[in-house]
């Protein structure tokens, strides 16, 4: 539901970062999105085309890497990926998992740009 706001935030952030490379065209934006981040990739992709129009990101591709939830088990000491979001229990010993080490990420990992050659 809020993917349009998320898309707008990505465009703002990338535009700001890409400003360090004057004249550059952004080809690709790569995201890391945790399974608990409340972001639906299809909706985000749908919003992307509209949001990048008229910005330095126009025509760019959005690549979304979804990260599973990883919990650290205080009972058995292992870090394990949760197979689903239906139950927050250690996949090894079944104890309740409260210490989440991954799954809420919502970040821009990198961008691929066509940069103008620097003239010396």
């Amino acid at each position: 539901m809020h993917e349009l706001s998320i898309a707008a935030s990505i465009v703002d952030a990338v535009t700001e970062s890409a400003a360090a490379y004057p004249g550059a065209r952004v080809r690709e934006v790569r995201l890391r999105v945790g399974a608990l981040a409340s972001v639906i990739e299809d909706s985000l992709q749908f919003c992307w085309g509209i949001t990048v129009e008229g910005t330095p990101l126009e025509g760019s591709k959005l690549v979304v890497k979804i990260l599973p939830v990883v919990a650290h088990c205080t009972a058995c000491g292992k870090d394990g990926e949760l197979p689903s979001l239906k139950s927050f229990r250690c996949p090894y010993c079944g104890e309740p998992a409260t210490d989440l080490r991954q799954g809420r990420e919502l970040e821009i990992e990198s961008i691929e740009i066509d940069a103008v050659e620097e003239t010396v």
Binding site: H2, I6, S9, V14, L36, V39, S110, E112
Partner: protein, 230 residues
């Protein structure tokens, strides 16, 4: 032209997170306990808050509320009847509150008489009633100390399983409308089990804003959390 990859490693909601961190610092400096109430539309957030504000005020606490809705100031008017200063935030179509909206509405906040400005340092508790939505508010930190997820007996015991991202991010859970649990065929054990599957060990309150059932526990919890700030 050369193609290159630039590592950014930057949070998409960095701006919101930074603003929220600033708000958290302000709340702590002022010694005010801030709670963010999240649920579906119709769970009874406003009735729950009406009861809470009224009781806390009767006990001598200094309380205030910020309430988010797409449109209308109906909720703010309802809550203001408690005598506490309450300010409406209309998001005009946006499905959640964000830190910037909170920041803006903490400025120039006049009390009911329209005279004295409401200051964080003059409060013990600030309640933020989020827009009724179980998805988007989970991504937006408002700087709150406690995020409360509410669920009514009319909604079905599997709500936490359907919306794990929100329930997993909550610090406390409140079941509302328990006075009508029986006619609704509400399966209490299953609801408690489901909440615990998604957020193991979370503090759960079973309440009715109509009869006051369970509210004493809730008010005790608030007082203890408030005292723990000092």
């Amino acid at each position: 032209m050369t193609t290159r990859i630039v590592e950014l490693r930057r949070g998409i909601l960095k701006k919101n997170d930074e603003l929220a961190a600033g708000l958290r610092t302000r709340y702590n400096a002022a010694g005010v306990l801030v709670l963010n109430l999240v649920s579906s539309p119709g769970t009874g957030k406003t009735a729950f808050l009406e009861f809470t504000l009224r009781e806390l005020r009767a006990g001598g606490a200094r309380v205030a509320g910020l309430v988010g809705d797409l449109e209308t100031d109906n909720d703010a008017r309802r809550l203001a009847a408690s005598g506490a200063p309450v300010r409406q935030i209309n998001t005009h179509g946006i499905c959640h509150l964000d830190a910037e909206m909170i920041d803006k509405h903490l400025t120039g906040w006049a009390d009911a008489a329209g005279a004295q400005a409401v200051q964080l340092s003059g409060l013990d508790y600030l309640f933020i009633e989020n827009v009724g939505n179980l998805v988007c508010p989970s991504s937006y930190d408002l700087g709150e100390k406690i995020r409360v997820a509410l669920l009514s007996v009319t909604e079905g015991e599997d709500k936490p399983l359907k919306y794990p991202t929100l329930f997993n991010s909550a610090d406390a859970a409140v079941i509302t409308k328990i006075d009508i649990a029986q006619p609704c065929g509400f399966d209490r054990d299953l609801a408690l089990k489901n909440i615990n599957e998604i957020r193991p060990g979370i503090r759960i309150f079973e309440t009715s804003s109509k009869t006051g059932a369970g509210m004493e526990d809730w008010l005790d919890y608030l007082a203890a959390e408030r005292a723990a700030l000092n």
